[in-house]
C-alpha cells in the first residue's frame, strides 16, 4: 500500500478530506476545465446567435484574423506590451529605488504611489478620460494659464489614443510594480551595498551591475503580472474610450465581450477567447514550470 511520505498513514483514511474536496473538484472540472473546453469547442462550430453543433473547422479563426477590429486589438496589445509593461517596470523600479534610499516620508509616499491600485479600472478610465478631454482637462487648463499652443488630446486621435490608455494604465499599475521591486530590494543583503562602497563603485554602477541582476526574479514576476493585466484589460477601455476613436483602442478582451453580448457572434468570440487561452497558457505554463524547477523542494512563496 502506498503511503504518503508526509503524513505517514495511508491516504484512504483521509476520506472526510476527500469528501469535502469533491465540490471543489466539481467546480474545477466543470466550471474551469469544462467551460474552457466548451468555449474551445464552440469556436469550431457554426454558432452565431446561439450555440449550434454543426462543425465548421477553422472557419472562425480564418475569419477572425481577417477581421480588422481583431487585428487592431492584437496590435494594440503589442503596443501596450511595450509602452505599459516597460513603462510600469521603469517607473516602478525608479520609485522603488528612490524609496529605498532612506528618504523622509517614505510611508506617505508609498501610500500615494500605491493608492490607484485600490480603485476600480472604471474609475481610472473615467478620470483619465476627463483629464485628457481637450476641452475641459489638462490641455484646457494649461492653455488657460497662457500656454496657448499646448496640446494634450491623445484620446481624440486614432494614432495616439492607445498611448493615452497606456498612461492611465501606468498610473494604476506602477505602484504594484514598485511594491514588488521594493520587496525585492529590501531582500538584498545589506552588506552588498557596503562592499560596493568600500570598493568605490559609483552608486549608479552598483545599481546596474549588482542590484538589478539580483532583482531579476522580482522583475520577471512583475512583468508576467503586467502582461496578464493587458490580456484581461476590458473595463479600463470601456470606461475610458469605449474602444474609440473608431476601433483605435480595441483590445482582445473587449473584442470578445462585444462579440459575445452585443454583436451576437459567438463563433468569433469563442475563437478569440481560444486564441487568448492558448497565448496565456504559452506564457504561463513555462513560467510556472521554471519557477517550480527553481524552487525544487522548497515551499511556494
Amino acid at each position: 500500500m502506498k503511503t504518503s511520505p508526509r503524513n505517514g498513514p495511508p491516504r484512504f483514511r483521509h476520506w472526510p478530506a476527500a469528501l469535502a474536496l469533491s465540490p471543489v473538484w466539481a467546480i474545477a472540472l466543470l466550471l474551469f476545465v469544462g467551460t474552457a473546453g466548451y468555449t474551445v469547442y464552440l469556436s469550431f462550430t457554426a454558432s452565431r446567435m446561439m450555440p449550434v453543433n454543426e462543425f465548421v473547422g477553422f472557419e472562425h479563426y480564418i475569419k477572425l484574423f481577417g477581421t480588422r477590429r481583431w487585428n487592431t486589438s492584437l496590435a494594440n496589445m503589442g503596443i501596450l506590451c511595450v509602452t505599459y509593461v516597460l513603462g510600469c517596470l521603469v517607473l516602478g523600479f525608479l520609485l522603488a529605488a528612490a524609496l529605498d534610499r532612506k528618504v523622509r516620508f517614505e510611508n506617505t509616499l508609498r501610500t500615494i504611489f500605491l493608492y490607484p491600485q485600490a480603485v476600480s479600472f472604471v474609475v481610472t478610465g473615467l478620470v483619465w478620460q476627463w483629464l485628457m478631454n481637450p476641452g475641459l482637462g489638462i490641455q484646457a487648463a494649461v492653455q488657460g494659464w497662457g500656454w496657448e499652443s499646448f496640446t494634450f488630446d491623445w484620446t481624440q486621435h486614432r494614432g495616439t489614443a492607445i498611448y493615452a490608455v497606456a498612461i492611465a494604465g501606468l498610473w494604476q499599475g506602477a505602484g504594484l510594480t514598485m511594491i514588488l521591486l521594493l520587496a525585492g530590494l529590501r531582500g538584498i543583503d545589506h552588506s552588498l551595498w557596503q562592499a560596493a562602497r568600500v570598493e568605490g563603485i559609483p552608486l549608479w554602477r552598483t545599481y546596474v551591475s549588482v542590484i538589478l541582476p539580483e532583482l531579476t526574479p522580482a522583475i520577471a514576476t512583475a512583468a508576467t503580472l503586467l502582461f496578464m493585466g493587458i490580456v484581461r484589460t476590458y473595463d479600463l477601455i470601456v470606461a475610458m474610450t469605449n474602444g474609440g476613436p473608431g476601433s483605435a483602442t480595441e483590445l482582445p478582451a473587449k473584442f470578445i465581450m462585444d462579440n459575445l453580448f452585443d454583436r451576437m457572434n459567438i463563433g468569433a468570440a469563442t475563437a478569440g477567447a481560444s486564441v487568448m487561452l492558448i497565448s496565456v497558457m504559452a506564457v504561463i505554463v513555462p513560467v510556472l514550470y521554471i519557477r517550480a524547477l527553481r524552487k525544487g523542494g522548497r515551499k511556494p512563496v
Partner: protein, 359 residues
Amino acid sequence: MDPILDIRNASIAYGQTVVVPELDLSVAPGEFIVLLGPSGCGKSTLLSAIAGLTDLAGGQIWIRGQNVTWAEPKDRGIGMVFQSYALYPRMTVEQNLSFGLKVGGTDKATIRRKVAETAGILQLEPLLKRRPADLSGGQRQRVAIGRALVRDVDVFLFDEPLSNLDAKLRGELRIEIKRLHEELQRTMVYVTHDQVEAMTLADRIVVMKDGHIQQVGTPAEVYGSPANLFVAGFVGSPPMNLLAGQLSGGELALGDGTRVTMTGYPLPEGAAGAAILGLRPEQLFPLEGALPEGACRLDARIDMAEELGPSTVLWCDIAGTRCCYSVPGRGAQAHGAELPLFFYPGAASLFDAQTGQRL
C-alpha cells in the same frame, strides 16, 4: 614603529545613543588585532567606523599617517570581509575580483596581472570562472579576502566572517585565515564574539564591553592575567573559577573559612577588603603527597565529571562555590569524593570585589 591604524579619542553615536564613547587604539603594521566582546558591545560599529561606513561623532581615525576621518571608504586603504562575504552574486570569481579595479579605471593588463597574482596567492585559479553560489564556504571566504587583496589595501577588516558557519567549517577556516595572515603579513582587524577565534588568531586581543575597551593584550595576557572580572568571565571555556573572600595582610579568607596565603602574587601595598580569587580550571591540580613549594591547598568535593576525551573536566565544590578543574585523560572521580587540590597563587588572579579590577 608608527602605527598603521590609529584611532584617536573616537566616539560613535546613533542619534542620541552613544554606542562607543571616547576610544583610543593603535595598531602596528602587520598586526592581527581581534576585537572581542559580546553582541552589542560596539565592536562591529567600531569596525564599520574604521571602514568609513559609519560616521564618527567625535575624534579621528588615522591610517598610514593620514587623517581619513572624513574620507570615503574606498580612499582609506582598507578592504573588508563581511559576515555574509557579500560577493556579487551574478559575477564570476574573476569578475568579483576585478570589478573594483575596472570601475576605478585601472588598465586591463594591470587588472589581469593583479587578479592572477591574487588568485595565485589564494589558490583561486581553478575557481575563476565559477559563481559564488557554486563555491564552498571556505572558497567564498578566500574570494572575499581576494577582493580586498587585489586592491592592495593596508588594512583588512573582518566582520565576524565565521559566525554563519557550522563548527567544523569554522575551525578549518580559522586555520586558513591564520595561515593567510602569516603569508601576507598584512594588518588585520577582526571582529568576533567567539573567544576561541580570538585566542587562536590574534596577536593582540581588544576585549570590549558597552563600547569601552576592557583590556588590550596578547592572548596569553588576556587569558592569564585578565584585567577585570568581565574579561576573566568572558575569556576561557570552561570559565574561570571565581572564589569570593576577604583579603587582609596578604591572606585571603574564603567563604568557608579556608585561608589562602597569596605568596608570589604581586599584591599592591596595603590591599585589603572584599576580593575575588580567580583560578583557571587548569591552574588547579590534584594534591598527591606533600604540598609543593609556593603552592596553596584547597579542599574540593567532587560533584560531576565531564569526559572530553583528551581531558576530563571535574566539577566540584570549593569553599561553597561551584568550581571546575581539568585533568588530562580520564580522571573520573566518585560523586561526593573529598579531594585535596592545590594551586600556585603567583599564577592566579585576584580582583577587587567592588570595582572588579585586577589587584
